[in-house]
């Protein structure tokens, strides 16, 4: 594999890692709010979050391209605080990936939070746990598998992203050329052996990650949590 291929792999992992981290910070409170709010406008927000699931990535890419153009208010605001151009930058890729992968992180978390028995949290409160304490001591361990799924999907989906990156990233090795684009490049220029290394490597990587997740998920988590509660209800 060439130096460019390694750069693309490294850049992809960096993009997916950073995107997943940002998504966890944004999506956790958003999913918690969606799971608990009695607000009637909730379906509107849910639909907005889910849009990237149904839209062709090029649609999102097109609007982001416009938003990131140097003359746009967003790009100028960005230039004002960072001194960098947003167009064809790594930062633009991160912003785009966060938007594009948002539903893949929000949805598993929201469903986990919704299934969590309220009375368990109320019990924890009665035992003196503040809301942050309740979140770390009860919610996170009981929704562990939901977090795992959210992280895996968020990461994998960012690694596999193509359309959006193609529209807004350009194809600058070491800056915006990610794995999927590099692969496309190799195929276009008929470098099939390099293409095999990239494509096969991606398959192996994804398979190993998924195996690890399923393996981890077999140890006690929400599965036991929920069956434990069901049996209590049956007895009561």
């Amino acid at each position: 594999m060439s130096h460019h291929d390694w750069l693309a792999i490294f850049l992809t992992l960096k993009l997916a890692g950073l995107t997943t981290l940002i998504l966890l910070i944004i999506a956790t409170p958003l999913a918690w709010w969606l799971a608990n709010t009695p607000w009637r406008g909730k379906p509107f927000i849910e639909a907005l979050v889910a849009l990237p699931l149904v839209l062709p990535p090029t649609v999102l890419g097109f609007y982001l391209l416009i938003a990131f153009a140097p003359s746009s208010p967003l790009a100028q605001f960005w230039f004002g605080i960072t001194g960098d151009n947003l167009a064809f930058s790594f930062s633009a890729l991160v912003i785009a990936s966060v938007l594009y992968s948002l539903p893949f992180v929000v949805q598993p978390l929201q469903s986990g939070f919704q299934q969590l028995p309220k009375a368990l949290l109320e019990t924890a409160a009665s035992l003196g746990a503040t809301s942050l304490d309740r979140f770390t001591s009860i919610v996170v361990p009981l929704c562990r598998s939901n977090f795992l799924v959210a992280i895996t999907l968020g990461f994998a989906h960012t690694v596999g992203e193509f359309g959006v990156v193609l529209m807004i990233g350009g194809n600058i090795p070491g800056r915006t050329q990610v794995l999927s684009i590099a692969l496309y490049d190799r195929v276009e220029s008929l470098q099939y052996s390099a293409a095999h290394w990239l494509a096969g490597g991606l398959i192996a990587f994804s398979f190993i990650v998924l195996c690890a997740v399923y393996r981890l998920n077999r140890t006690p988590g929400i599965a036991i949590a929920l069956s434990g509660n069901a049996s209590t209800k049956a007895r009561a």
Partner: protein, 367 residues
Amino acid sequence: MSLLLSLHLQRDEFRLDIDTAIPGTGITAICGPSGSGKTSLLRCIAGLDRAPTGMVQFSGTDWQTEAHFLRCEKRGIGLVFQDAQLFPHLSVTANLRYAQKRQFRSAGPSFAEICDWLQIQPLLNRGVNKLSGGERKRVAIARALLRHPQLLLMDEPLAGLHDAARDQMMDVLQTLPQHLNLPIIYVSHSFHEVSRLADHVLLLENGQLIAEGGLVELSSRLDLPLSRQQDAGAVLIASVYSHDQEYQLSTLRLDANHQLSINQIPAAPGRQLRLFVAARDISISLEAPRQSSILNILSCTIDTLDGDTAQHNAMNPQVTVRLSVGDQYLLARITRKSRDRLNLQVGQQVFAQIKTVALVNEYGVAS
């Protein structure tokens, strides 16, 4: 030290209006049929729900006022839910440690003492989903006590338990006040449970407080729905007077003139006991029966006849009669036919023959 409540809450069709003061010692039962607002009231006391208009004050500290609402985690309460709500990702010990780590105050019983009272020592190393219903509840109570709360709240701690587990649980609950110097509020729909455990009772119906007072007083009031229940009866306070070794009987005194015999119990003379006499276990006669196998015959005065207070019972084949014995009361359920045949009148002297006297504290049932 007491709990002052003024709570007003409207939720769809349901309205809760409670203004009362709950004593700062002993067990107070909140009793009423399902849907009467017992659990809503408990949740407002716990700080899990906020009645839009209301005031809650516990031993001088404001828990809720117009402007201020103290969150549940700051109230220093122990709360036991109906279905235990043990944390499923933690072992029994870890559930208990969870409370211990977040103790409200350092003074209080130790881990070992609490495990001992609730008989959960053998369960400590188990997973919570390997416990029976009764075991789960005992662990939940232990966990609430490890918080070292200043007020213990329990929502139907006996619901969903089979008879043996229920009896064991009652025994455990009965001994708690001896160990703990804190008020306990206990929600139950069953007056039978309440008569064993509570000192003070709040009776709820449709979100309204219909009566409150000492258990002994409320149990014999004919104007309350309690006296119309199938297993109605009166709670009496008696003290141990003497023991008859030959016949293995103990004599109890209600007062200087009234005594009862029960199967011998290992209690020292002078000790106060709580008794329950079911209304259907009493028959009334106008003369003292001389030749009867029934030992417990008390001379008493008819205080009230049920027909006086509840017109609807006119068509009932049975009536309930309240009899005064010294300064305490008995309830007797007899047929309307007997009432008319004996021509029973308020103020009349009669004799109550008592078939069964149940001892409702820790020694179980004796006759």
